[in-house]
């Protein structure tokens, strides 16, 4: 399960990396602290036809929020839909964020931090079923 994690928080990345390693998915996880670099990477992947199976996207990031990342990925929608599951991974408990995520067709689901083993397994199971 090739996964891209976009999170400016080093601790968030550390936690996700450890959990993916424990699940045997460490090699397939690519992490980005900068959302700008992540968008450029994904655009290139779309051109190469190698988009990941899963994207985990933080919302509250400097320079470019998770919503802005989604807007930047919108032109790739036809490549993403049906092939790549995008999960919002946020510490936010704001209902407004949840509602907005549900309205976004690119978003598969919302995960509240901290990520745990059960969620990693659920993401994997869902990616297998696609």
């Amino acid at each position: 399960m090739r996964t891209v994690l976009i999170d400016d928080d080093a601790l968030g990345i550390f936690l996700a990396t450890r959990l993916f390693q424990r699940a045997g998915l460490g090699e397939e996880l690519t992490t980005f602290v900068s959302p700008v670099e992540a968008v450029a990477f994904l655009q290139q992947q779309a051109r190469d036809g190698t988009l990941p199976d899963v994207i985990l996207l933080d919302l509250n990031m400097p320079m470019m929020s998770g919503w802005e990342v989604l807007a930047a990925l919108q032109p790739l929608a036809r490549h993403l839909q049906g092939h790549c599951a995008i999960y919002i991974l946020t510490s936010s408990l704001a209902p407004a964020d949840l509602n907005r995520a549900q309205e976004c067709p690119l978003v598969t689901g919302v995960l509240h931090k901290p990520l745990d083993q059960a969620e990693v397994q659920a993401i994997r199971a869902r990616a297998r079923d696609r």
Binding site: L11, L19, R22, S34, M61, P62
Partner: protein, 433 residues
């Protein structure tokens, strides 16, 4: 025709056309006796008057003399208008088409501290600040041009009064088809505007606090929970176990700091006394922060230079002042450019408009265009690769606004950032505008 003095019968001539509408009078028969007459004497007031009418002849014209006992005798329009003019707390002016005051009521005279004779034949615009004269002139022209009443909001001082919010109404006065002037009524809405502003501020604060709880407080807590989970499933003594332990230790002070900030915000809301104006020596307040952050400055290998004129005081309280400079200096040290030694320069100066305080650094800066005006909002973070809670600059801005000032931020990526605090002369705590 109607009585002019209370509880006293009075006589007058009833318009024959009106009387003829009634029963026997309408049929041309003489009538003596009580007559119920509903007189529409005021747009919204109907009075029942008991009339006793009899015929008489004046100069060959048949007239009806009537005696009226009005339960609520009415004053003449002149007296009614005079009473309104003299006793109304609203400002009432009577102007000609050029805006020259022909009359003003005591409420206005008290406000501008002039007598009626002093203000008569003066232009009303002379009592207004320059920036609103055009507005008032245009509204007067609009009233004259359209013939309709014109209502508008005005925030201005009148004469040497303090600026007040007014709901202004201009009403055209026409006599026999000729425009003879314009009435101006101004109702003071300052208290209402003030409470609306307070309500707006409270709503905004509540939103901000909700934002702090759901984002800023939750983020380090989520990290701490995640690390605890890793400690639970990890092998004690392993590298990842140690890492998780270190990260947990880092998360908890962050959580604590957010709680402290939240407490500062709540305390300043709940205890207005905390914000009581107090002339605090600026240099002392800044020196205290620099001393407390000395270790951080040394760790950053940086220098902080302070140039503040001796005796310069700012109207705030020491807690706010400390908070302002603590967060600005922390910000300057945190977002440093790694390739050069950090330098922070804090200067202050007096000028005719008030005081200007500048905190400048040579750090990594941020993209000015992206930051825009939202840099002082919660959850706005502009520095990639740096941890941030997004509360600091919001708190600084809130404190500065609370003491009547405002802030501006300028930055260039890779060159540094400059935060300017403007405090107007006479700015005070709890200022609402």
């Amino acid at each position: 025709m109607l009585g002019t003095s209370p509880n006293k019968s009075t006589s007058g001539v009833l318009s024959s056309s009106r009387c003829l509408r009634h029963g026997r009078l309408a049929r041309g028969q003489p009538f003596v006796g009580p007559l119920q007459y509903r007189a529409r004497v005021f747009p919204y007031v109907f009075l029942r008057a008991l009339l006793c009418a009899r015929y008489g002849t004046i100069g060959g014209i048949t007239a009806i003399y009537c005696t009226m006992k009005a339960p609520f005798p009415l004053a003449t329009s002149r007296i009614r208008f005079q009473s309104l003019l003299e006793n109304s707390p609203e400002l009432i002016l009577y102007q000609n088409a050029e805006g020259i005051m022909l009359d003003a009521n005591p409420a206005f005279l008290t406000l501008v501290q002039q007598t009626r004779q002093q203000v008569r034949y003066w232009s009303y615009y002379d009592f207004l600040p320059l920036q609103v004269r055009t507005l008032c002139w245009e509204k007067l022209r609009e009233t004259l041009a359209t013939g309709h009443s014109v209502r508008f909001d005005l925030f201005a001082s009148q004469g040497s009064s303090a600026p007040r919010h007014g709901d202004v109404l201009k009403v055209l006065l026409v006599d026999h088809g000729w425009v003879v002037g314009v009435h101006m009524l101004a109702r003071d809405r300052s208290e209402k505007v003030k409470s609306q502003a307070a309500l707006f501020r409270q709503n905004r604060d509540l939103q901000q606090i909700s934002c702090i709880v759901s984002h800023n407080l939750r983020a380090p807590l989520a990290n701490a929970l995640g690390m605890v989970n890793l400690l639970r499933i990890g092998k004690s003594g392993s590298w990842s176990f140690q890492q998780a332990h270190t990260h947990l230790q880092a998360s908890l002070p962050q959580l604590d700091q957010v709680l402290h900030d939240l407490n500062t915000i709540l305390a300043s809301r709940d205890q207005p006394g905390r914000a009581a104006p107090e002339a605090v020596p600026l240099a002392d307040g800044v020196r205290q922060v620099v001393e407390d952050l000395h270790e951080l400055v040394v760790q950053a290998g940086g220098t902080v230079e302070v140039y503040i004129p001796a005796g310069l005081r700012v109207p705030t309280n020491p807690a706010y002042l400390y908070s302002i400079f603590f967060h600005l200096l922390s910000h300057a040290l945190k977002y440093r450019a790694d390739e050069r030694p950090r330098q922070v320069l804090i200067t202050a100066s007096r000028n005719p408009a008030g005081k200007t305080i500048v905190v400048a650094d040579n750090g990594s800066g941020f993209e000015q265009e992206r930051a825009g005006t939202s840099i002082f909002q919660l959850d706005q973070r502009f520095h990639p690769h740096h941890a941030g809670r997004g509360v600091g600059l919001y708190l600084v801005n809130t404190h500065v606004e609370r003491i009547g000032g405002h802030m501006e931020a300028y930055s260039w990526v890779g060159e540094g950032a400059r935060f300017l605090i403007f405090l107007p002369s006479g700015s005070h705590a709890n200022r609402t505008h």
